[in-house]
Symmetry: D2
Subunit: 352 residues, 4 copies
Amino acid sequence: MMIIMKAGATPQEVEAVIAQIKSMGLAVHLSQGVEATIIGAIGETHAIPIERFEGLDGVELVQRITQPYKLASRQFHPEDSVIPLSNFAVGGNEIAIIAGPCSVESRSQIIETAIAVKEAGASALRGGVFKPRTSPYAFQGLGEEGLELLAEAREKTGLPIVVEIMSQVQLDLMLKYVDVFQVGARNMQNFNLLRAIGETRTAVLLKRGLSATIEELLMSAEYILAGGNTRVMLCERGIRTFETSTRNTTDINAIPVLKNLTHLPVILDPSHSTGHADYVAAIARAGIAAGADGLIIEVHPDPAKAVSDGKQSLRPEKFAQMVHQAGQIAQIMGRRLASTQGSAQPLKQGWA
Amino acid sequence: MMIIMKAGATPQEVEAVIAQIKSMGLAVHLSQGVEATIIGAIGETHAIPIERFEGLDGVELVQRITQPYKLASRQFHPEDSVIPLSNFAVGGNEIAIIAGPCSVESRSQIIETAIAVKEAGASALRGGVFKPRTSPYAFQGLGEEGLELLAEAREKTGLPIVVEIMSQVQLDLMLKYVDVFQVGARNMQNFNLLRAIGETRTAVLLKRGLSATIEELLMSAEYILAGGNTRVMLCERGIRTFETSTRNTTDINAIPVLKNLTHLPVILDPSHSTGHADYVAAIARAGIAAGADGLIIEVHPDPAKAVSDGKQSLRPEKFAQMVHQAGQIAQIMGRRLASTQGSAQPLKQGWA
Amino acid sequence: MMIIMKAGATPQEVEAVIAQIKSMGLAVHLSQGVEATIIGAIGETHAIPIERFEGLDGVELVQRITQPYKLASRQFHPEDSVIPLSNFAVGGNEIAIIAGPCSVESRSQIIETAIAVKEAGASALRGGVFKPRTSPYAFQGLGEEGLELLAEAREKTGLPIVVEIMSQVQLDLMLKYVDVFQVGARNMQNFNLLRAIGETRTAVLLKRGLSATIEELLMSAEYILAGGNTRVMLCERGIRTFETSTRNTTDINAIPVLKNLTHLPVILDPSHSTGHADYVAAIARAGIAAGADGLIIEVHPDPAKAVSDGKQSLRPEKFAQMVHQAGQIAQIMGRRLASTQGSAQPLKQGWA
Amino acid sequence: MMIIMKAGATPQEVEAVIAQIKSMGLAVHLSQGVEATIIGAIGETHAIPIERFEGLDGVELVQRITQPYKLASRQFHPEDSVIPLSNFAVGGNEIAIIAGPCSVESRSQIIETAIAVKEAGASALRGGVFKPRTSPYAFQGLGEEGLELLAEAREKTGLPIVVEIMSQVQLDLMLKYVDVFQVGARNMQNFNLLRAIGETRTAVLLKRGLSATIEELLMSAEYILAGGNTRVMLCERGIRTFETSTRNTTDINAIPVLKNLTHLPVILDPSHSTGHADYVAAIARAGIAAGADGLIIEVHPDPAKAVSDGKQSLRPEKFAQMVHQAGQIAQIMGRRLASTQGSAQPLKQGWA
């Protein structure tokens, strides 16, 4: 970490910064140039918030050289993390395809969907039972009944289940059922929840917040990793920008940036990142081509009847096409889908 | 709510929309124009998510006419809500000044600050004991010990205390101490927390999320109001934009927009919305001039030593100046500070 | 276009809106529902700004049903536009690869680069001679000398040349040299320039502004098309968001959205949309997978010595790899590169 | 400027950076710490783009210490610039009020408006004659005829006229008429236009681009100043964000930030920054309270009939109220309106 002093900083102000650095157990490297005095703080600086220096008198700016996270960084763990999940693994050569409805609505809906996505090549089943809804008047999920239905669908299909957790008070209940916790965008900085999940050893899919930077996403992963839970997958699900023609803006750059900064697997959610069924396949292909380790896709047997996210949900047959396309791109990338059933039909031009 | 059908929508698709509307207990108004068929859904539409129609075949777009919230709206409650708090009230003629440190750090720090802000004209004391920190390695707050220190400061000064709550598991503990719950920006859509607070009758200061729209802020207020807790104050604390010269961008427009849309009091937090002590006073004045019902300000006896937010904290003497300026603007606006001690010294040009 | 009146709008206010619609030569469709009066304006509404109604008394909101552009829309021209360019065409089955340095710096630099990108499979050469620089102190381009060097490079390689135009005063000079005008992001709403180009019959690559919506990009294309110049290609080059880990945020969603809304070809510029050479190849692949009709890439023989954009420029050998990968994805998409030289070597996992 | 090398940078890479610095006529300050090698480049670094170093091998990041602009900076010119304009001056003790219609529409409209705004206390008249319209089908302005009408209005009222220029080809014509050039948001980085204006000695109101940073605004001012034209006023007119309840987001922070960074006067445009007549007065007051040197306001005798921007235009009587309020806030700030006619009536609570 470098602390750059203002042009007119006094020797006393420089001394105060040096004292602050030393009091934190860090070493000091002082460089007094013509234009500026620069003070380096050397040691385990990832754990030091830059604000501890920004408030000091005479400080112009504080610049990190190393990342503010450690366990999540590629420097700390150069090899890709590979997270075993049921009968496949995320983060290695296999591309994970997680699919299912936004909300679990009924027994027939979730069982039917689970079978359909399995047949289309999905490797895991998603489904929400506690729903974070903007409106207090909207459907809030089936709760434990939904978890039981998901468990039944898992039994029928062999697909591990990925379920959103909204609060640490749901933890004990959910631990009995789920294979992967999903932490939603709105909870990416619910630090109590992150800590609680860090204490478990259950895998977690951590979604990027609507306006979270990539660095903040990695800091939130660090909360979970710091608890000893290393089974963390990151998920890009679109960010909020000024553009309104899509629900969110897919930050496709985030995929190669994350693969560069961290060893954790990176999943793309084109359903939320576009908000529109017509665009999901194109962005799913783009995600695999950019290097994503998997996709999470909303699928509903009858999107028009979905209680939530119908507009962005694929029908099973559209999903099957999308999986097929993803598989072809994966092959070009030297990878393969974690599980596929269909044969490789040739693709034609004109995909949406 | 209006559902606008695509140019080529079939009669069957129109019928399906009509059936959906009726199944929700709403009335239908059908208008078949030359360019478009428009279907109106009439009744208690605030409780209907537009996504229930967006996924239907043949639908071009869905447009709300009425707001998606009800209890928070000015239509529902035309008069300004006035929220009594200790010996003053927020939302009426008085301007509330809430001040104190980002974090409670020690007994001397909080007591000293409480006395100083009281003297400078503050009407309430803020102080964090559970801190939502981006980094797991940063100071996380004193917890219950901090609450006890705040209670002692309240006893010494008579100032009601405003404390951030991060999780519903902290609710019972905090209820014993706090006068006002603060819900932070990162928890604005922590719906479990909002519901839990809605069940209490303790006042709450609900901060706008970093990238939350004004409508989403009001929807979150609706969660609390729907539980029967009507003592809700809204807080603009800056939004995330592309501009990096300040920590956040103060959305000053939000003040008149909120005063137009809702009856709830609106507080401005110029400490977070600027992130820099040098800009706090200018933006505090702007907030009062724009019609805010109060300010929440970070004050620390020695910002250079603050464990958090030192850069944006005012020293007590700077805070006293700011209160004085705010009081002068308030007078122009036909209002007055909830509590002031100092005399009215004339202001000079050249405030930062 | 629909004009939705406020709940309490008077009959006089409704009449004023109707009169306004009729005065514009449009037909009126009046629908008086229980909750709202809706007035439809029917006819050539794309040419009517909604602001002509927003200022009227009693108006709640104005909603377009049809697009505000016509010539650029797919409704008007359902088939993809195919733009012949030298010995290939953009917008059909072939993927265009436009490559070259940010700035033309010297004869040897541009000739060397032209030969290298041709060998690597590029179908056109880019190079700036008038540079829009944020700083008045930065290199502003070689001007006409640069155009002559580009013409020489074209002669040597057969590659058509794509050059940025910054002002209509440069038009006559540039017409003598260039095959494709590039309109940069900062000039996307320089309407005088757009009109002037619309009067020519030279092809144009219109880049999306830093914070322009997709609709605004299409409106700017409409300016050129309205002048009778139909040879317009659109270019996504990244938008400005809060994320700072990349120079811009690639709006990959824009590719399928544009292919849906317009018949014009869509090119992706991953050099500017990422700002970092390490991420260009991943995003180039993603662009082709998402359905882009081409790529524009910054290539420099020695990026460390580039006078501009060195950080995001590829070395020729990295560019050749990227072209190869793009070609493989193109094949999967049922397309092929407009011109390739190299043989198809198998790709390996681990691309950045 | 500091160049921070990557942890593993080789001595050759360090040497290459040093050579690059020296070749630019700058001095070198080398600091080899334990964690990082930092190379300072010392001298007139404001004229050096950081990209000249970012592309070099082994470079981790490049950090400016001094600003990239010079003539616009407060370091260079510590005193506030005061720009005389007709019978008053902008940037000193007086608050400028520039008012008038978006577009000049007719003789009666502009003369009537000029007289009304003069009476209400305006110090200058605005009016557009070349209009930058998003749609090619929208009204594009009266051109020279409009300039003649503005000149007539000036003659009748004594108000100097402020007119938007869209292209350097309009320069000679406009020089014959206007007192102040306005450079619109879409042209903030039309560098050819900025240079051309820099060659004149006519005052200029430079509006911030829709998504321009404060630093970029100052760089654009530098283009004009570098030509020798020192009569530059800056204008905050709202930035583009995710919030849709207002047309733009007023970046009120920009006012104290600009007053800190530059000596140039800062004007606020609450008409564009809110886009809604109901919010203009509140934000105008906020602007003066935050330290702005003036306001520019859209006023129309009959907003419902305005050909552009009717929704955000004030009627003359509303404008008069707003001027009155601005005057009261100005007084508190130790300043006064450049010209006022009305007497000081007491204000009441309940302004919008």
